[in-house]
């Protein structure tokens, strides 16, 4: 399955990219497992926020083909 991964604000700076497409062979992969694939050398920062298809969720969220996953720091709008 194919996942679109997006990074915002300091997460983009940290990753050195804004977006990537990740191919995963097996279903049932969680956000946490996806993170281990895109960032093999650093664990998921504790204060990072996660959205799947633009809804907030957590690292245990299982992914399906076509999902858009986003990693970003606490929001500071308004």
């Amino acid at each position: 399955m194919k996942i679109t991964v997006r990074y915002f604000a300091n997460m983009r700076d940290r990753m050195g990219r804004a977006e990537e497409s990740v191919a995963l062979t097996d279903g049932g992969v969680t956000v946490e497992e996806l993170w281990a694939k895109v960032s093999p050398n650093a664990p998921l920062p504790t204060n990072v926020l996660i959205a799947v298809n633009m809804e907030y969720t957590d690292a245990a969220h299982p992914l399906k083909d076509g999902d858009e996953v986003a990693f970003f720091p606490p929001v500071t709008g308004g």
Binding site: A51, V75, G78
Partner: protein
């Protein structure tokens, strides 16, 4: 109800007037509360000169709309308008407008406050400030607790 996320600067009071004239029936509401958030020249003790506001297109609109809908479900609100900017802005610029029309003053206040508080908590925007020293930094957290609803006396909720 209308939610707009845009790059260009806006005049919150002209927008409120125009929206009311075009969308809000005359003589029904009785109470209008607006909140305008503007860019300050200081933050966490830094002197700030310009700011860039990044956002997650579509997710911002979706979550602001959700927050507005929650307010409409919770209180007797006739209508609500939210405008939020992204991109480059300078000191004094309006960043966000929340306007709420209601037949009841208390409902207008409560709903407006709810919308701005939860927008600040959930809408995916990130501020990057440029200081006078030429330094750029991501703002780590808003200076006010987004959930704050206190009637507290003089206490900075920093």
């Amino acid at each position: 109800m209308k939610v707009i996320v845009q790059e260009q600067a806006f005049d919150p009071y002209k927008e409120t007037s125009a929206y009311e004239r075009e969308h809000v029936p005359v003589g029904k509401h009785g109470a209008v509360v607006t909140f305008v958030g503007t860019m300050r020249d200081f933050n966490d003790g830094h002197d700030v000169t310009t700011m860039y506001l990044e956002h997650y297109p579509n997710m911002t609109e979706r979550h602001i709309e959700q927050v507005c809908q929650e307010a409409l479900d919770k209180w007797d609100v006739d209508d609500a308008l939210v405008l939020h900017r992204y991109g480059e802005m300078t000191i004094g610029d309006p960043i966000v407008l929340v306007a709420v029309w209601s037949a009841h003053r208390a409902h207008a206040f409560d709903a407006c406050r709810y919308i701005i508080n939860y927008l600040k908590e959930r809408a995916p925007f990130w501020k990057r400030e440029s200081t006078q020293a030429g330094e750029q930094r991501w703002v780590e957290h808003n200076t006010e607790d987004p959930g704050v609803n206190s009637q507290g006396a003089k206490q900075r909720s920093a």
